[in-house]
């Protein structure tokens, strides 16, 4: 999604009203209930939220100059910086060490990388298809990517072939290095 992304892709920037800010926060909490504990710390009441509309109907939300989440169509997707701050709130999968290199260059994650010994998938019933997942890696503390499940985790275990997770945002991609000045 952010394979090519630069300043030229920004169409408009506008400040978000505090009333919309409230609905945004409640939406975020309803999507990731565990965030409720820390939502006021992540987005303080007086914070300055900016909505950045970009190419392909991508919308970024920046809180005090830091892109914390973005939106394509309806679902809010946290950025990695937000995930790093509070990793417990999101559904997580883990890839093995061999896959890290490919993930960091932006590849979709193949099923075997999710099912091998170093990898971890949530136990059944698992996660539905199209869930936004945080991708963690073997022996690593922090998340390295965010993706969308292309099949449910149970199917990944069963079929064990082909693309398992679609890459949305990973360490080192243009969104990661993107900064608003």
């Amino acid at each position: 999604m952010f394979k090519k992304f630069s300043k030229e892709d920004i169409h408009s920037r506008s400040n978000v009203k505090s009333s919309i800010q409230r609905t945004l926060k409640s939406k975020l909490v309803s999507q990731y209930p565990a965030l409720e504990l820390v939502i006021d710390e992540l987005i303080p009441k007086k914070s300055h939220i900016e909505l950045i509309k970009c190419e392909d109907k991508i919308q970024l939300y920046s809180v005090d100059g830091e892109v914390l989440f973005f939106q394509k169509f309806d679902e809010l997707i946290p950025s990695l910086r937000l995930v790093h701050k509070f990793p417990e709130a999101y559904p997580t999968v883990q890839v093995d060490r061999g896959a890290i290199k490919f993930v960091l260059s932006g590849a979709n994650i193949m099923c075997p990388g999710l099912t091998s010994a170093g990898a971890k998938l949530p136990d059944s019933p698992g996660l539905e298809k199209d869930t936004i997942v945080v991708i963690n890696a073997e022996n690593k503390e922090n998340a390295l990517a965010i993706g969308k499940l292309l099949m449910s985790t149970e199917d990944i275990k069963k079929i064990n072939k082909g693309h398992g997770v679609e890459m949305i945002h990973h360490l080192g991609d243009p969104l990661w290095t993107f900064s608003i000045e």
Partner: protein
């Protein structure tokens, strides 16, 4: 009490330090981490810094993908690192070999503009710099494309000396003192002519 986690990001490759080894800049990352966060360094790379053998042994125990694949990964990472290093060197060489041109052009009679070219190589935000110049010299300043379709900063008014010193200072801040700054004055100052009229 804060429920948030503070994550340290490597200043060299911008990743969290656990992923430095995949950035291809490991050497510099390691150095940086050792200087700024020695405790983290010890945790990630083992206490005995340069002792490669023990490090490798530890890694093999932790990793689950088997020795063969691990070795391959290691080799790939080394290759990546080499490539990154080469790239950096090339970029540095390019930076050092390029030069900044500051040009003064005459408009009408006593009016001049100053044009600065060749800044884009140094990762300087042209628009921002133009804004700084505008407020610094209290004059009009903008970024425009010149005849060769390259971006240049155009400043209204005769400010060539102060611009030169400012740019040199800017480059020195980035550790690029050796970059050539060339000053081209297309029209000599009018002083000689005024002198000659006086002598008449």
């Amino acid at each position: 009490m804060s429920g948030l986690k503070e994550v340290i990001y490597c200043e060299v490759c911008s990743y969290p330090p656990d992923y430095c080894e995949f950035s291809g800049k490991l050497k510099r990352c390691k150095k940086w981490l050792n200087e700024t966060h020695p405790d983290l360094y010890a945790k990630l790379y083992g206490d005995s810094g340069d002792d490669e053998v023990t490090n490798l042994g530890k890694k093999l125990v932790e990793s689950s993908i088997g020795e063969e694949r691990e070795n391959k990964l290691e080799a790939d990472l080394l290759k990546l690192q080499k490539r990154e290093e080469n790239k950096e060197q090339r970029e540095l060489a390019k930076k050092l070999s390029s030069k900044v041109i500051i040009k003064r052009e005459a408009r009408t009679k006593r009016k001049f503009i100053v044009a600065i070219q060749g800044l884009e190589v140094f990762e300087i935000d042209m628009k921002k710099l133009a804004k700084t110049f505008a407020s610094k010299f209290a004059t009009g300043c903008s970024v425009s494309k010149n005849a060769e379709k390259k971006e240049e900063i155009v400043i209204q008014g005769d400010v060539i000396e102060s611009v030169e010193s400012y740019i040199q200072q800017l480059l020195a801040e980035k550790g690029l003192q050796d970059v050539k700054v060339e000053v081209i004055d297309t029209k000599k100052k009018k002083k000689p002519t005024t002198n000659s009229t006086e002598s008449k």
